[in-house]
Amino acid sequence: MRRIASLSIMVTLLGLAALPMAGPTPAQTPVRGGTVTFATGADPDSLDPQNTQSNPGEQVNRMMYENLVRFSAKMQLEPALAESWSSSKDGLTWTFKLRKGVKFHDGTPFDAKAVKYFFDRVLGEEKPFKASLYTPVVQAADVIDASTVRVVLKQPFGAFLFIMAHSAGAIVSPSAHQKWGKDLALHPVGTGPFKFVEWVKGDRVTVQRNDDYWGGRPNLDRVVVKTVREDQSRVLMLESGDADLIVNIPTEEIARLKKDPRFTVESSPTARALFIAINVKKKPFDDVRVRQALNYAVNRDAIVKDLFQNNARVIPAHVSPLQNGYAQLSGYSYDPKKAKELLAQSGASSLKVKLWSPKGRFAKDYELAQAVQQDLAAVGVEASLSTLEWGAYLAATKAPAEQTDRELFLLGWSPSTGEARWGTFPLLHSSQLAPKGDNRGFFVSKTLDEAIEKATVATTDQSRLGALREAQQIAITEAPYIFLISPNMIVGTSKKVHGVMNLPLELTYLTEKSSKDK
């Protein structure tokens, strides 16, 4: 049926890779050698990709490990350890042709056996944390020959390639897993452009170039990923030259850094959606008109322009444009008059609500909630805003319906598979009511459930995207959330550093093509 990523794409890609430093950056030959010091906000939780559950861990893993397929900077699927793939018509059998002559950092050959080992591990007894991505979908994997693997699914799964491109789909050296077991978290061995050197916990992870990398020898000698918790300290480290690359620059600092000729500040869109969830079990939020009114009341354009200084974009529903399956639909306009009318119709013209927000978890989260609070006040909805520390916030917003009196609460969601089915199913499917899943507003809609299920088992991109579009349309009409914005990720680099990868999954890392001027 489909033969995505056929030979022709491969040839183009290899051709591009062969060009020295293709792309918008200076067309000179990249400098070889050098160390990039990268300051990030937290320590990795683990360096075993099947057990890693945080961005700081995932971005380090992405330098050392590779998947069968990977995301491009624009979130398109590309071949990585698999050169090509195809699926049967019923969508149940997937065949991957693997890249030949690839070796893990410990010398173990990468072949069909290593891929089968990966599947056996995630489906088997060990149950690593991220196994839950694969167990509901995959039945088993078989070795066809040394460079061909067949994967059989339990049911057709439209987003199968996306879960393979997920950070947890990284292929680990089977011998390293056998040797280290649980301690694989401290002894990562993959096929990627960089090899593990050391992890000084709480301080830094160091990786060095893998000279045998199949994509060519990496330009950089080393990358040192430092844990620098304080936003302001990271900015100062960039300015003092102690770091070449920093993430999560506070919005207030962007203008100053941009003016400095030594640095580049890149603000790039992400797959994250920010919205305010509504507990539809509580009156008057069971009335769709009230929920729609809340949506009409918010001036999203002003939020993007004034609060985020254009480092964000308005989204019509709960899906960011960087999620595969995003549908360009028209969302709620800013219409306070209509909001008041709808509130009056539903008999809730003066309404007192509780609004919760985390502080410091997402970019400008609390300030965003404040902006919404003001907009709501303008239509006669008096919101009392309160905040909790993240651990307590998670517990409070995930408590079951009978144990909570939550009403409106700000949440952020970035589907780590990069596609809208995972951006919808856990949030809005009726089987995912909190605390089991992340449907924390207890929204139940039969038509939405059906659309999500159709997308789940779709065997063509066309039917998957169509079903996801339908799901987003239903969400807009039913307004289970106050839909808000998708924030950008803001990364600062020294002008000397080129080719930094900013994946919209809020992962920043360096590749074999990254380089640093002398």
Partner: protein, 306 residues
């Protein structure tokens, strides 16, 4: 003396038991689920249940405490929920950083504080005295966070003398030690000044001067040694405070110390890590207090522990 030290060391046990009960109770009073924080928003119920089971979090609280205490008595501090590493290993990696930092800070503040205090006391009501008082007032009042960022701005970004954070060399510890030592040196300076003024009024000082002993010797040998007792008390307290208070300095300067381990542990509800760290910090605190008491006897031979 030996009997006294032994008795004091034995007293560590009830202190640690108290600390264990206190930190366990406080940690569990705070809402939040370690499994949920670890596994992130996307985690399924199955994964959460697995994490809870792995760390015994699905057991009743009293049971959890008994298990923890039993393990701790056998020297097993448990496994970190976040990193799945033994807490003892994490502490062995992190504690030396904090100890070194606290030690350097107390060294900085000791030298600065005592010297400033002595000079202020001997030139009472002079311009120098006034300056020292003013400086110590600033030192006590300035928030560590602000001072740290300011030091980075001046000494790392502008002058490029020291790195703006991280660890590895002694140069990495200079700014943090100065920042952490700033408020201690202010406290020590004020205590030294007050204590010296008290002693300098004593008759034996006047006698020494009348005998024609050099001024420097009068001040440093005759007066300072006798003024040391209250200063030592402050030393001990400040050192203990630095151990716990190092967290802000460690955060601003990105040092992988135990202070950050504790705070990150609290945010992650990583109960074993926080409890293990509390035990280590409490033990150090008790030992430092004991050393202070022993030092009293050295400075003032009239003090005997029998």
């Amino acid at each position: 003396m030996i009997a006294y030290v032994t008795r004091r060391l034995l007293l560590i046990a009830p202190v640690l038991l108290g600390v264990s009960i206190g930190s366990f109770a406080l940690l569990h009073l705070v809402p939040g689920d370690p499994a949920m924080i670890l596994a992130g928003q996307e985690a399924t119920e199955e994964v959460l249940a697995k994490i809870r089971h792995e760390h015994g979090l699905d057991q009743p609280l009293a049971g959890q405490f008994v298990v923890y205490l039993g393990n701790a008595l056998r020297g097993n501090l448990g496994i970190s929920i976040q990193s799945r590493q033994p807490v003892a290993t994490l502490l062995a990696e992190r504690f030396p950083f904090t100890l070194r930092l606290a030690f350097l800070a107390i060294l900085v503040s000791g030298v600065l504080g005592v010297v400033a205090g002595v000079i202020a006391a001997t030139r009472r009501n002079s311009m120098i005295d006034l300056m020292a008082l003013l400086a110590s007032l600033v030192g006590i009042s300035v928030p560590i966070f602000w001072l740290g960022l300011l030091m980075m701005l001046v000494f790392s970004v502008r002058l490029q003398w020291f790195p703006a954070g991280g660890s590895g060399t002694m140069a990495h510890l200079v700014l943090p030690a100065l920042v952490l030592g700033a408020s201690s040196s202010a406290v020590i300076a004020r205590m030294t000044r007050a204590s010296m003024l008290e002693v300098l009024r004593q008759d034996y000082v006047r006698t020494a001067r009348a005998k024609g002993v050099q001024d420097r010797i009068v001040i440093y040998r005759h007066a300072l040694k006798n003024a040391m007792i209250p200063i030592l008390t402050v030393f001990g307290l400040e050192f203990g405070y630095n151990l716990g208070g190092a967290v802000l300095t460690e955060t601003v300067f990105s040092l992988p110390g135990v202070g950050r381990l504790i705070v990150e542990g609290i945010f992650a509800r990583d109960y074993p890590v926080v409890q293990g760290s509390m035990l280590v910090v409490a033990t150090t605190f008790v030992i430092v207090n004991l050393l202070t008491d022993i030092a009293y006897a050295w400075f003032d031979p009239r003090i005997r522990y029998n």
